[in-house]
Symmetry: D2
Subunit: 352 residues, 4 copies
């Protein structure tokens, strides 16, 4: 059979950071690990080294498990620390609520309590009323608070905010899950080591994202302690998240951490978001910034009549059709030139 290899070239997209490809150093690592035979499912030297690195970053008592993707990390993490009669308290904008096609409910059996967000964030104040449910058989038992960092709205929790949520949770025999699909972007904003903004604040389970920040595939699930991780080995396999040729995920993570590539990538993406914001403010008066820019997302209000034309010119997603709010995202490989071109194309349509 003869294949027709696609010939295509594209502008950089501002629709999502996952429209980007693989960082060259990460692809190179896949190549370097591609020799000989190694025991499958993680019993190989690349995985051993990568797991060692995760312990070095997050603490000696942590336990890490590699999975395929973000939803896989979230539901495997949540299943590992819950029973079906538990509930998970989170925001109404959470990825686990809105963007995983009900995977958390099906895979954990838990109830997701969808609380109103404040710029994508949750506050302990919102959680107190669920304490009344504790011990009463008619109610799902509150067990996990799940937050996202950076949030789905591009904002970033301070370590103090996270610590306050974790303290509340632990005082009430609950756990905190952090969906870190974009934790690198949050770290770049906070200028803090990864441990300081997660495990040191009390986070129990972390979905550590890689794919949106330069990897081809693969995420890591980090548990704060061996006790929390006790069932993770089996839950990961039962959830079909165990990679047979795991060395190729592990090798990517090795390159990801080598010379802080992860942080360089995220810093670049964030910087480009701020550059985009400035360019909008100076060149696109019809466009209003909708949310504080704290990571690599820029939420904007677009003129209702022009929005479809802009999307046609360069596809991006609506956030709230009613208020004509849209999301633009930058990526690890976005350049100043990409932004200038994008803004110029938007400008052309807006001023026509």
């Amino acid at each position: 059979m003869k294949i027709q290899w696609p010939h295509c070239s594209t502008h950089k997209s501002f629709a999502s950071d996952n429209n980007s490809g693989i960082h060259p150093a990460i692809l190179d690592a896949i190549q370097r690990a591609n020799h000989g035979h190694f025991v499958a499912y993680g019993d190989d030297p690349y995985t051993q080294e990568a797991l060692r690195v995760f312990k070095q970053i997050f603490g000696a008592s942590t336990e890490t498990f590699f999975v395929y993707n973000g939803t896989g990390a979230n539901v495997t993490g949540l299943s590992t620390i819950t029973k079906t009669f538990h509930s998970i308290l989170t925001t109404d904008t959470a990825h686990i609520v809105c963007d995983e096609c009900g995977s958390p409910e099906k895979m954990t059996g838990c109830s997701l309590k969808q609380l109103p967000n404040t710029l994508g964030k949750l506050s302990p104040r919102q959680l107190y009323r669920f304490l009344e449910y504790k011990g009463i058989e008619h109610h799902s038992q509150p067990k996990v608070v799940s937050i996202t960092q950076a949030t789905e709205l591009g904002t970033v929790y301070t370590p103090e905010e996270i610590k306050e949520i974790c303290d509340f949770a632990h005082q009430n025999n609950m756990y905190v899950h952090l969906d870190g699909a974009r934790i690198a972007n949050a770290a770049a904003t906070l200028h803090l080591p990864l441990k300081a903004m997660t495990m040191d604040c009390g986070v129990d389970v972390l979905s550590f994202g890689g794919t949106k920040n330069g990897m081809a595939y693969g995420e890591a699930l980090v548990f704060a302690s061996p006790d929390l991780a006790a069932d993770a080995l089996f839950v990961r396999k039962q959830h079909a998240q165990l990679a047979s040729k795991m060395r190729f995920i592990s090798a990517q993570f090795l390159a990801y951490f080598d010379q802080d590539l992860w942080l360089q990538n995220a810093t670049c993406a964030n910087r480009m978001a701020h550059y985009l914001k400035s360019a909008i403010q100076s060149q696109l008066p019809e466009v209003r910034i909708a949310k504080p820019v704290e990571s690599n997302a820029v939420f904007v209000y677009l003129p209702k009549n022009k929005a479809p034309l802009l999307q046609k010119e360069s596809f991006f997603y609506p956030w709230d059709q009613d208020s004509s709010e849209y999301r633009w995202m930058t990526s690890f490989d976005t350049t100043e030139q990409d932004i200038e071109e994008f803004v110029s194309r938007m400008k052309k349509i807006l001023s026509s």
Copy 2:
């Protein structure tokens, strides 16, 4: 952070075909697809071309969905065509029964009926008694027959055998799922086009494996018709099997089918299994061949007292400790020299 890149070299392993790496042409395809930005989750030209190729191979009415791995393909396929009160009739050696940590039960909610195998195979004779359950609410309703090709014992169903199972199933309002983790090896044995040995026999859902035969990750789930596939889009996402940067799975499949690389790889693996069998028969009289060699697995009886030493020399898996049966597998990249070295190392221990 400074990473210590593992320095390691290994002998080829005979433990499993998934101990191998990525075929160079497939890695090259990942590289070629790694430019620019493309819409995530499959709306890219590589995926479009790969889906076109699958239609060309399996028929215009088929619908294909890419997933991460074999277990993901099996449970997503089975969930898509069942309801929780259905039962799935399969063998007691099936991967879905033995090697997926209960993923099918959890993800489908179905009951798995584990029927005695004959050299890894199922026969329609074994299925008749389940027809009595039809329509009676006390019993899981038989809905799917699941078979594996090549089987977990390395044997290969003839197209006639598959057709007979499919005819039985369809006459009784049931479906046939084929776990094709090693379907390439079966095709290399049967010298038949993929369609002739699957959809043309009546297979309804096919888990089409790639990872064991030269890919880094990624499998395809092929449904015989759009009706069967109606829910697959959502089930795949809910099962956390939807890759964001899907173009890198798709590009692998393009290389996999280009110039029939898949068939060359499988043919090589099969040929090496036969070569290994011959070498055993001529050079290792203490080792008995336990099963017919029909694909890339060689099942052997080893002397009980020597088996642990042999495993220590070059790790491989036991199949049945009681009868001292073990499994040796060849891979797409196994060479005659690898086999000669392996047999020579085994011989040294056996004759010591």
Copy 3:
């Protein structure tokens, strides 16, 4: 073994209508059906007659299944008409959200969207935004709107309100489930036949309650058509809701409908709620009525410092501790004298 039969007598409770016992005519029906042997699981003349009666009440095309309790009815009904990737749109006060310990999520696998209620009710206005999710694999697919009648806040939907919700649902390929744990009380308020306020409005699946209105146990699940009910037989069994000695549920329903006992019971309970409201207004000035009294619930604001003493005198449940709101309920067997005594006991404490 010698048993110590409890000797106890109690005041009537205003905590919940399920604190009551069995109406004498219903217990009598159990006794009348208690002779000889009948085929188990529903193939008996009592069940046949009861099913005939349900068809007569709700329409010839309906199909009814008896189950044990309200949660069983709700989750069996919802499972029958959903797939795991569907979502169920309902209020944040719904019994399925708050009071079933996450049974709907575990048993259906679906996501429950918990929308803000207006006096316990939902309006189609709140549902439009979920239509954007249709066909997009990242989101649970909206499939069912679930409402409660009478609502958890004691209010009653008008038939027009229900029809509007059903029309919206049907126009968008969705279903409506009605949790009718207290539908008898709603019927007594609306002065309408059961069919006119359910199936005639477009309700697809009805959990028809009996236990709170004079039965010992047993509820009915009514589907608007055989198509909707196609899987119910198996789902009921798989959910452990199939009674072996079903004739004793069926006999209860026969008595329940005989001479409209169900309506007499509900009318009595409702009348007593209004009597209680009047008594409060005339005799307990410290107590404010919190919600419109439309069925058999009276929500009240109690003085914060006195509430615990009142609960100690005669136990009842808090509704919202912050606002000091509590719920008092009347039952089919509540009498004017019971209310007078209750109000008098409350008064004594409030004025002390």
Copy 4:
């Protein structure tokens, strides 16, 4: 509405013990508990006394939960002590395998390993091979052995046999669940106290049946210790097995244990099975006894050509159509006269 109360009289059935009705003393207990108001869901004096009685019977450290039916007891018990990646080792004739429409798989998520039975029984010999799976993520982790007493084939485990299974389980960090839908019949055969044949042998979770032996509905789930029962409160509710008017289940159990009614009932049923066996042997030479009669079931081989006529005369269930094996069961209310009439009716057809 006017109801047509069925007028019907029937012969006693030999199809199943659940075709019988309610023992008069048990119905009387329902009536005696039917006065006044009591807190729902079990916080009433009847339930308190019944739970005290269960502690007295099974030991002070046991914890009991009332549920609606046998499937409810089995799946609630199994869910309480398992995680989804566990497997449950049982026989291929087990009720949980054959007769619960896949409820255990859906509700627990576990894999059921269906081992060949010997006269309905399991032996520890069959379990050893699953120990190899322990700790290996590819395999469901063996966690529970589930046996039935009396078995589905009417045979009875000796306490020694049960103890041997429990010892094996506990030595390997596993639990034993006993499906005691007919445990009363086994007790009547063994002439042993209930505790001696269950908890004293090491049983961890017991589904204690009542419905087949004279109750209207209701079973008890008995855990050997508070630790084992820690989650049962919530699992029961989530499984829709929590009765609101629980006093009516509890009152039945009070009557059930009063003056050992349970044992009288079971002894009667067993005695009638032996009487039936004798009558067959002396009067129906064409009928062969197929299994040892050890409780209240009599398995028989019937002449193939006559079996349908016999079933038409008095309905009963086939066990194995191929070998023309059928099951006849006696009940707590079966009399010698019932048997004589039944045998006489069978004889008439067999000799025609």
